[in-house]
Amino acid sequence: MTLDVDDLTVTIGGRRVVDGLSLHLADGARLGLIGESGSGKSMTTLAVLGLLPPQAVVTGSIRLDGRELVGLSDRQLAPLRGATIAAVFQDPRSALDPVMTIGRQVAEPLRLHGRVSRSEARRRAVEALAEVGLDESVAGSWPHQLSGGQRQRAVIATALIARPAVLLADEPTTALDVTTQAEVLELFRRLVDERGASLLFVTHDLAVLAQVAEEASVLSRGRVVESGPVARLLGSPVHPVTRGLVEATRATTWRAP
């Protein structure tokens, strides 16, 4: 499925957090959205899901396979969320409900959309957990019993269980340590490939982006300042913001032998 964002502007309390942003996510493609914190990345993800705070004013257009999403009500968007468009958020420590078992949370999109029975939902949750490398016993455990990496795997399993056509990932590896980060990225790439889903990957880290996406847009103060293949952005950045991000990437990875 394609996702087209055209001239998207989000204003919250008189402040433009997204300012005329456009991007095109082709069917089955993996697009990166990169920028410093506060550049409007997360707001873009939330805008696509229709989950911005109620006082936010949205103009422009977000089309999913040609269908306009801006202006749809919560009730009209809910059937799409989790089923057609799914999301993985930044912090796996807070993204899981502390009083719901992992199995029930992973199965939640199915229960919300699919009218599947309890036992069928459980069976598919165990399957989804296996796909992200988690054992069956995890289904019966609570979020606090899992490590950060395990939790993010569970979150990814939740996002993918209903086989969404578009996956939004908002800094899904930022809260993880480097080793876990690499494993989770690999998992992302593999699962998105297997499913043929389109991926919008939001991050502030070009090195991370290089592992999952071919194309990327650089975001600064709510607008796209540079777009192109990730390799080109890394090799010969043009815009000062892109250069700054590349510098930051060098600074953190240079120490490696």
Partner: protein, 305 residues
């Protein structure tokens, strides 16, 4: 939440087990007293006044020769009725006001918050006495006054809890999974505010028992035909100087029941939180998704040049 593990966690705590045992005993006494008591709780007999505890009068008799044990047993029915009805009313009022005060449009929500703050300022006992003065004393007045009174208190506490939970990431995540407002409320918000809510509810029930006893003691609560621990306390305290031991029975019944409800609230809260249950971490699971993935970070094109 799995129900079995919750009940086990509740009963494993000594306070929880003791509270459940006592409340079960009170409930049992209340149920049995509908069909059977050792003696007629209201039959007076001037020839057997102030008998000490014995086989035929377990708790002894009072000034008019009533069997105290039978009366205490019959009165437990009144207590259970008042606690359950007040609790149910407080629950509906509390959750309703809390939901109105947290999930609606800003103007509505803020006005409800002010309304809650105003209502909290009314002392429940005085409201009950005012109602009793207007409509005559009855158990209904006690239930309405304490149900509304503690419902407002519950609303105040639950409102801020709902607002806290509604801002959590897992609520956003659930909405991103396709949950509508009602589903978010039922599946995520309620279970997460339940611990605080249950403690408040148990306090409300405990306090409604005290209110009933207090109002009946003062003559605003249960009518003369209704057995009540507070009324018995009032009858017996007149003879406190001569027969001090008799007052122990209703006093003990009230104290233990209120204590048990308070303990139960705390135990339920602890048992409902999976983080407080003894159980280990999940062992390392599954094969790592990729071998040697760290190298990939450095070999990204252009980074190391």
């Amino acid at each position: 939440m799995r129900r079995g593990s919750f009940v086990r966690a509740l009963l494993r705590r000594p306070q929880g087990a003791a509270a459940v045992a006592w409340l079960a005993l009170v409930a049992l006494a209340a149920a049995v007293s509908r069909v059977w008591t050792p003696a007629d709780p209201f039959r007076t007999d001037p020839y057997s006044a102030w008998l000490p505890p014995s086989g035929s009068h377990l708790f002894g008799t009072d000034a008019v020769g009533r069997d105290i044990a039978s009366y205490v047993m019959a009165a437990s029915g009144t207590t259970v009725l008042v606690a359950v009805c007040s609790g149910a009313l407080a629950l509906v009022v509390g959750l309703g006001l809390a939901a109105l005060g947290s999930l609606t449009a800003r103007a509505v929500r803020e006005s409800v918050a002010v309304l809650i703050d105003v209502l909290v300022a009314f002392p429940t006992i005085l409201v009950a006495m005012a109602l009793a003065a207007a409509f005559g004393g009855s158990l209904g007045v006690v239930v309405v006054a304490s149900g509304l009174g503690y419902g407002v208190t519950i609303a105040r506490v639950s409102r801020s809890e709902i607002r806290r939970v509604a801002r959590e990431d897992y609520v956003t995540a659930a909405r991103a999974s396709g949950a509508g407002t009602a589903q978010v409320l039922l599946r995520h918000v309620l279970p997460n505010i339940a611990p605080v809510f249950v403690v408040q509810l148990s306090l409300a029930m405990a306090t409604s028992i005290l209110a009933e006893a207090g109002l009946s003691f003062l003559g605003y609560g249960a009518s003369a035909e209704t057995a009540s621990w507070g009324r018995l306390l009032a009858d017996l305290q007149k003879f406190l100087g001569v027969h001090p031991w008799t007052i122990v029975w209703p006093g003990l019944a009230i104290t233990l029941t209120v204590l048990a409800l308070n303990l139960l609230g705390d135990a339920v809260r602890d048992a409902a939180d999976p983080r407080l249950r003894p159980s280990g971490r999940v062992s390392a699971t599954g094969p790592a998704a990729a071998a040697g993935p760290v190298a990939a970070v450095d070999s990204a094109p252009g980074v190391t040049s």
